[in-house]
């Protein structure tokens, strides 16, 4: 499974702002559309750390990285590769 699909599945299943997987496109704005809120962001971070095995620093929990599933997957993959 790609990182984007894993994120999509988690957001759909586990976040109160989640939607059906089909609606969670790679370029859907996660923040402006309120898919990810103040509680959801830290559920998402802990999913990435525990299930995807990528540690994220507090200073990396910023809009630029979490804007869309596409940007987040790219960020996670880049962290994993480095």
């Amino acid at each position: 499974m790609t990182t984007a699909d894993a994120l999509r599945e988690f957001i759909s299943r586990d976040l109160p702002g989640g939607r059906p997987v089909a609606e969670l496109t790679d370029d859907l704005p996660l923040i402006d559309e309120r898919v990810v809120d103040s509680l959801g962001i830290f559920q998402l971070v802990s999913f990435i750390e525990s299930d995807l095995g990528v540690a994220i620093g507090d200073d990396e929990v910023v809009r630029e990285n979490f804007e869309t599933i596409g940007t987040l997957a790219a960020f996670v993959d880049a962290k994993r590769a480095s």
């Binding site: 299943r13 989640g18 103040s38 559920q43 507090d58 929990v61 910023v62």
Partner: protein, 496 residues
């Protein structure tokens, strides 16, 4: 001092026309511009048939125009009903039907569910002709704010101009708000913390700065926002500030502009408040307390913190003009009753609900009209009030007030649910998370229930976790054993 809320804008526009009134992500409206826009919108509302005594819904993302809409509605003599643009249609329809709005101010690309007339704010031209100035008295309703109701129907708290003004006047004086201040606007307009942000700013002809969506989600952005915007007075629920203290390495001097930090809505965990006050040694901190029905009724200026993190700060003493009473069996803890100019007018379209909470002479020594908060409090030796908890099923999560019965009613709306219970699981950073237990018939799985709730309830009321069980535990008297479920939710394998 003017007696109605919208006259604050008129005065500010007259006295400081060129001063920034509202700032939103780099866009700024001066008081003159905000006043002109409110005039244009008020004229359009009158054109749409809005009259004194009506209700008008405002279904917009926070923006300069949304602020102008609130003033425009009040100028027509109607009460504004702020609506959550992210609430599901079902919830919006419930609110719109309950308060019978004359029309809804909305954006063309995000109209309300079918029902009342819609006024597309984007199509409203600049005002021409005499400005709308309906005759509004302090006893008229300024706005109606909908909160969670225990039976599954949201209830509308009616607040008059006099009620709101009493709070705004007190707050402006208590925190010394001046025309040079820059106030944050974090809370959505359908949440009563916004009343301070918008109107304490207008009363001083100060600037209110709207917190962008990412500021609520990312502590790092919030910190940047406060610095870049030079925020001097911050007001929000504690969970936002807790995140700031917990997830950014805030040190003294990092937020030099902040001179006052106000919070309300729920208990601020002492451990995080300690960290925040250490990072802001020169700022004032104050805990404001009050259900929506009372605006704010007591406050506590944080002068020193308890020595141990297990003790919370008090909710303090009554604000000017307010009386409080602790009504219990004897001299100990009891329910907090509130009387005074900030106490609202009751619930819209709900005389029975109003009569049960807004009571007259509850005891011979308590004459007049009182609001029963449902909050259990005790009075400390030095005369401060301390919040102890609730006697009913109301919980707080991130400052949002949630009736567990409201969430359960939504779950029962699913045809496969035969029994259910929702419990609050304590959470250090978010006060509480909701966990739903359900007994179902047919092929219903946890994600089905999660999706169903998301379609019926505001986001903040959707449980974080769901668990299907074959039966719910019962007490000897046949009631759902909530204690057992709370214990299970703390340790159990919550899933969605």
């Amino acid at each position: 001092m003017p007696e109605v809320l919208h006259s604050l804008l008129e005065r500010a526009a007259r006295e400081r026309p060129g001063h920034p009134a509202v700032s939103d992500r780099g866009r700024v409206a001066t008081y003159a511009e905000l006043d002109a826009r409110a005039d244009a919108l008020a004229a359009a509302l009158v054109g749409a048939g809005v009259e004194h005594g009506d209700r008008v819904g405002v279904l917009l993302e926070k923006s300069i125009d949304a602020v102008a809409c609130l003033y425009a509605v009040m100028r027509t003599g109607a009460a504004y009903v702020p609506l959550d643009p992210h609430a599901p249609e079902h919830r919006l329809a419930q609110v719109l039907a309950d308060c019978d709005v004359r029309c809804v101010l909305a954006a063309a690309n995000a109209p309300p569910p079918a029902g009342p007339g819609v006024l597309d704010v984007g199509s409203v031209p600049p005002a021409s002709g005499a400005p709308v100035r309906a005759e509004v008295t302090p006893d008229d309703l300024a706005y109606i704010l909908y909160t969670s109701g225990s039976t599954g129907a949201p209830k509308g708290v009616m607040v008059s101009h006099a009620n709101a003004m009493a709070f705004v006047r007190w707050a402006g004086a208590a925190f010394g708000v001046t025309g040079e201040d820059r106030l944050s606007s974090h809370a959505p307009f359908h949440f009563d913390l916004s009343v301070f942000d918008l109107y304490a700013a207008a009363a001083a002809a100060a600037t209110v700065v709207l917190v962008p969506p990412e500021g609520s989600v990312f502590p790092a952005h919030l910190r940047r926002f406060v610095n870049q915007e030079g925020i001097t007075v911050w007001y929000s629920v504690p969970s936002v500030l807790t995140q700031l203290a917990a997830r950014t390495d805030l040190a003294p001097g990092d937020l030099p502009s902040l001179r006052a930090v106000l919070f309300a809505g729920e208990v601020f965990p002492t451990r995080w408040l300690r960290r925040l006050t250490a990072a802001l040694p020169d700022a004032r901190f104050a805990n404001l307390y009050g259900p929506t029905e009372t605006n704010v009724c007591t406050w506590y200026e944080v002068d020193r913190l308890p020595d141990d993190d297990g003790t919370t700060i008090p909710i303090g003493r009554p604000i000017t003009g307010t009386r409080v009473a602790v009504v219990g069996d004897g001299g100990g803890p009891g329910e907090l009753y509130v009387q005074g100019p900030t106490v609202g007018q009751g619930y819209w379209n709900d005389p029975a609900g109003t009569a049960s909470r807004f009571v007259t002479e509850p005891r011979p020594d308590l004459p007049g009209r009182w609001y029963r908060t449902g909050d259990l409090v005790e009075e400390t030796a030095d005369g401060c009030l301390r919040f102890l908890g609730r006697a009913d099923g109301q919980v707080k999560s991130r400052g949002y007030r949630i009736e567990l019965g409201d969430v359960e009613a939504a779950l029962y709306g699913h045809s496969g649910v035969v029994d259910c219970a929702v419990v609050a699981v304590p959470d250090e950073l978010f006060t509480a998370r909701l966990h739903a237990f359900a007994v179902v018939e047919g092929a219903v799985a946890e994600p089905d229930l999660a999706g169903f709730c998301a379609g019926r309830l505001p986001r903040y009321m959707v449980p974080q976790t769901f668990e299907i069980r074959s039966a719910l535990p019962r007490t000897a008297t046949g009631k759902v054993d909530r204690r057992a479920l709370e214990a299970a939710a703390l340790t159990g394998p919550g899933r969605r």
